[in-house]
């Protein structure tokens, strides 16, 4: 019967791991969205090894220990296989080492099934504990760290490392169970029985504290407390221990650097996301990325989490198999705990009972400690997830502990030892299950409720991956000529800037330098987040864990006129804005000097310190003094006179919208305040909008640059203006005010002005179509950061003529 149950469960486990291996194999094809890829094959070795050793262990357990619990081994086989494949998928070198350790551990398990009794553990308890402690003490002198730096907790010989604190956990449990089983029936006062254990355990724990292995030290403290509680049944032991732990925690917080850092990054991780809380935040982002269903084995990006193979393997599993997977993982560990406690209650003597319960507590507490740490439920401690995490010493210890548990469970025909107080065992079980349940809830909180907040964080590096795999939408001009598109193949997409001189306006999108300009403000459309139907978004997310292809966005820019402008502006500093005075569509927006975003990687931070400020879009961010002359048409329109005193100028600026920020999908300079008229600064876009009143019968149009987006469902959808038109003047007043500025057979008007500030000179040109112009009304503004009326006039006039005669 037991044999049948165990073999069925192992068959299902084998199917589960086979599917996982198969998905990892196919994962490159999903990423590249084609069958023509290099498939990942090496992890089949891990599956093969797992199958061989598990089959052999199953054969030996069912033959030599026929009455053993049939659930313990399959549950452990499932999670250790799962861990092995996850480690292999993250790093095949570590995967191969772990596979080797899995072979060693299984061999020990297989050999151990031949043991008839485990009484020798009881007899040699002092020797065992002394040897274990001695090995840990050795690390103080000969300790190394396989990664070269960090706490030196390992003993190494060439390429082989042992972390003695792992077996010491098991040895401490063995010692305490054996010692207490010997002494408890002697009817000595409890305190006399306990003090040797207090002394021995304190030595061990102090040793670990000196080594700075605080996670293991807290596991030891918790295990010691649990076993003493099981032996004595006194609740106050739990309370005293809790109080002591809290006290040590508080003292550590104020006096020990590493405790301080760990607790701080637990309580307020968001304060230091790149420093001490980097790990935990990356872990939470990975868990959020997993969501409910997970990305699929091999399809997430758990490589972004530091030490994903050991400390954060739970987060890696959560990302790839989602909440569904981690709930299954926690339940499987729950099965081990239930069956372990059952074996403890049915054990034939006190030694075996406490040993089984201690081992169960060791599996449960360590799981809760590290899973809770990954989920920010508890402060982070660098302990391993039993059976799952990378680490030979940990895996071997877990398997030996499992062997002992299976051995103890194999005595069902003998009557269990009498149990005077069942409560401590029930309390232990309840505590462990509350811990697992809290972990499941916390997992749901991060992956479902807080998921979106975490994924939109700027330190979510998965966006960079996504940009390489999903084609970004194109930026097009008004005639659908390409301004920005993509280069490279799937997996290597990067942005290609075809019309380079628009760089200060369209900006860039870059994994290192982030985003700027229209690439930033239209990002949601260009990445396909907005404009795509929700069903398509969620389907694409389900299949690929990525957004669908980005949508193309059409701008109001006219590349022909833009090119003419940029040719004339070469070598100058300044800005040009040409817009449709009626609709507000910006046909030309030019800012010089400019830069080549295709070479962003080489130019790098040089751009930021360039005195010419090429990154700044002068057309919207430039703040230029107006001087007096350029304001003449505006003043005249309000007063009928071209002179005005200072207090009246406030009214002029106000009437023509200079105190308002234009509403547009571009970063804009803050508006000047009415308080100090001498400090009034305007951007070229503001000047262009104000000037539009003379060509548009007194109305200031709402500016537009992003005109439409090409959606898959209904084709081009218009993007409305963000602002609303304002009536600055009544139509007759506006038409009349501009009469004295008309030129060229009265089809256009123009005006030039100059401004001085400190050592700098500025030249303004404003112009536009006359009110009587029947075709598209246009307006143009040129600002040069030099005293050059001829150039400003040439640019303004030539462009206006070009634009009026398309």
């Amino acid at each position: 019967m037991n044999k049948l149950i165990q073999s069925r469960l192992l068959q299902i486990t084998a199917v589960f791991l086979f599917l996982q291996t198969l998905i990892i194999t196919l994962s490159p094809a999903v990423r590249a969205r084609t069958w023509d890829v290099d498939y990942r094959l090496s992890q089949w070795i891990a599956l093969g090894l797992w199958g061989l050793f598990v089959a052999r262990a199953h054969y030996d357990i069912t033959r030599k220990l026929p009455d053993a619990d049939p659930y313990l081994f399959p549950a452990a086989a499932l999670i250790s296989g799962w861990g092995l494949l996850t480690i292999w998928r993250l790093d095949s070198n570590f995967g191969a080492r772990q596979a080797l350790w899995f072979g060693v551990s299984s061999t020990v398990l297989i050999a151990g099934t031949r043991l008839v009794t485990i009484d020798f553990l009881r007899r040699y308890k002092y020797i065992l504990l002394t040897c274990g402690t001695f090995l840990v003490a050795l690390t103080l002198i000969f300790g190394t760290n396989p990664s070269g730096s960090g706490p030196r907790l390992w003993l190494g010989y060439s390429d082989f490392y042992l972390q003695p604190s792992e077996p010491l956990k098991l040895l401490l449990i063995v010692f305490l169970s054996a010692y207490l089983a010997d002494k408890l029936p002697s009817r000595l006062r409890t305190i006399h029985i306990l003090y040797p254990t207090v002394i021995l355990s304190s030595i061990v724990i102090l040793l670990l504290v000196v080594q700075r292995d605080l996670g293991t030290a807290s596991i030891f403290t918790a295990l010691y407390t649990v076993i003493i509680y099981l032996a004595t049944g006194r609740k106050r032991i739990l309370l005293i221990s809790l109080f002591l732990l809290a006290f040590v925690g508080v003292v550590g917080y104020y006096f020990v650097g590493i405790v301080h850092a760990r607790v701080n990054s637990w309580i307020s991780p968001w304060n230091d996301p790149t420093g001490s809380s980097y790990q935990i935040i990356q872990s939470l982002i990975a868990i959020a990325n997993g969501g409910i269903l997970g990305r699929g084995p091999g399809l997430g990006s758990p490589g972004f989490i530091p030490v994903a193979i050991s400390d954060f393997i739970y987060a890696a599993i959560a990302e790839e198999t989602g909440l569904i997977g981690t709930l299954g993982l926690l339940s499987t560990i729950g099965v081990i705990i239930t069956r372990g406690l059952r074996a403890a209650l049915r054990a034939p003597d006190l030694f075996r009972r406490m040993l089984a319960a201690g081992i169960t507590a060791y599996f449960g507490l360590q799981t809760i400690l590290i899973v809770g740490g990954n989920l920010r439920l508890l402060p982070l401690t660098g302990v391993t997830l039993p059976f799952v995490s990378y680490g030979g010493s940990s895996l071997l210890t877990s398997f030996v502990a499992l062997l002992i548990l299976i051995n103890i469970s194999n005595h069902l025909d003998i009557d269990p030892a009498p149990l005077p107080k069942p409560q401590p065992y029930l309390v232990l079980g309840t505590l462990l299950f509350v811990g697992l349940f809290a972990s499941a809830l916390a997992n749901g909180w991060w992956s479902v409720i807080r998921g979106d907040d975490l994924l939109t964080r700027s330190d979510n590096q998965r966006r960079i991956i996504e940009e390489r795999y999903v084609a970004r939408g194109l930026l097009l001009d008004s005639t659908n000529s390409i301004i920005n598109n993509n280069k490279g193949d799937i997996g290597n997409f990067s942005r290609n800037y075809k019309y380079v001189d628009l760089a200060p306006i369209t900006g860039y999108t870059d994994p290192i330098y982030g985003q700027a300009g229209l690439e930033a403000s239209l990002d949601d459309y260009l990445r396909g987040l907005k404009g795509n139907p929700t069903s398509k978004l969620s389907w694409s997310n389900l299949l690929y864990g990525m957004n669908p292809e980005g949508l193309n966005v059409r701008l109001s820019i006219d590349l022909y006129l833009q090119n003419r402008t940029d040719e004339m502006m070469v070598g100058s500093s300044g800005a040009v804005v040409l817009l449709n005075a009626k609709s507000g569509e910006i046909l030309v927006m030019s800012s010089h000097p400019t830069f080549n975003p295709n070479h962003l990687a080489e130019l790098g931070t040089k751009l930021q310190v360039d005195p010419g400020k090429p990154l700044i879009n002068r057309a919207t961010l430039g703040q230029y003094p107006t001087g007096t002359t350029i304001m003449e048409p505006f003043v005249q329109a309000l007063t009928g006179d071209s002179t005005a005193n200072e207090s009246f100028m406030v009214n002029v600026y106000k009437a023509f919208g200079f105190y308002q920020v234009p509403q547009i999908q571009l970063p804009t300079a803050p508006a000047s305040s009415e308080a100090d008229i001498d400090l009034t600064r305007v951007s070229p876009l503001q000047m262009a909008l104000a000037s539009a009143t003379f060509s548009n019968h007194g109305l200031i149009p709402a500016p537009r640059i992003a005109m439409g987006v090409n959606t898959p469902s209904v084709g081009w959808v218009s993007l409305p203006a963000l602002g609303t038109p304002i009536e600055a003047l009544q139509a007759p007043a506006a038409d009349e005010a501009i009469l004295s500025y008309l030129v060229e057979n009265q089809t256009s008007w123009q005006h030039l002005g100059q401004a001085q500030e400190d050592e700098s000179s500025f030249t303004w040109f404003i112009g536009g179509t006359s009110p009587s112009w029947q075709a598209t009304p246009l307006v143009i503004v040129v600002v040069l950061e030099e005293d050059n009326i001829r150039l400003a006039q040439r640019i303004g006039q030539e462009l206006l003529i070009d634009a009026m005669n398309p």
Partner: protein, 149 residues
């Protein structure tokens, strides 16, 4: 296409994981059910108790439940009017496939022959025990115990 195939595999993966857990619950439930059926099918032999008082009066009763208390108290399963018997004097119960005699801390004790019953003692057919001035003889029914083995 690739992603769709892998999505199906991913769903199968989740199903396999929960099939594992489901299988565990199924077998545990089957085990529970089996245990319940086993216990309910267990045939418990009835017990026939014959009390003979010193006064010569005798009472006979047959019980099928698994626990019988004897005492002066009228709420006992087998009340006996005898001044030397305590209110709850003795308990006869069936467990571990046997009928057991257990003294309930009576004032005058329970005796099998000359020996006082201090610990639970197995009763077999035609055993006699004495409480106060009354002698009890038990007859255990014969049952077909095939199911038990």
């Amino acid at each position: 296409m690739t992603a769709l195939l892998v999505l199906i595999l991913r769903i199968a993966l989740a199903i396999a994981l929960y099939a594992f857990l489901g299988r565990i619950f199924l077998t545990l439930w089957q085990d529970l059910k089996q245990q319940g059926e086993f216990l309910s099918s267990q045939k418990k032999p009835g017990i026939h108790i014959h009390a003979i008082m010193d006064s010569g009066k005798d009472i006979q009763r047959r019980f099928v439940q698994s626990e019988v208390t004897i005492g002066r108290d009228p709420n006992c399963d087998f009340p006996v009017i005898d001044e030397a018997i305590s209110a709850h004097h003795v308990k006869i119960s069936y467990h571990h496939s046997q009928w057991w005699l257990e003294d309930l801390g009576s004032t005058n004790g329970t005796f099998i022959g000359k020996n006082q019953v201090m610990v639970p003692t197995v009763l077999i057919t035609s055993d006699q025990f004495k409480c106060g001035g009354t002698t009890f003889t038990v007859l255990v029914d014969m049952v077909n115990n095939k199911i038990l083995s």
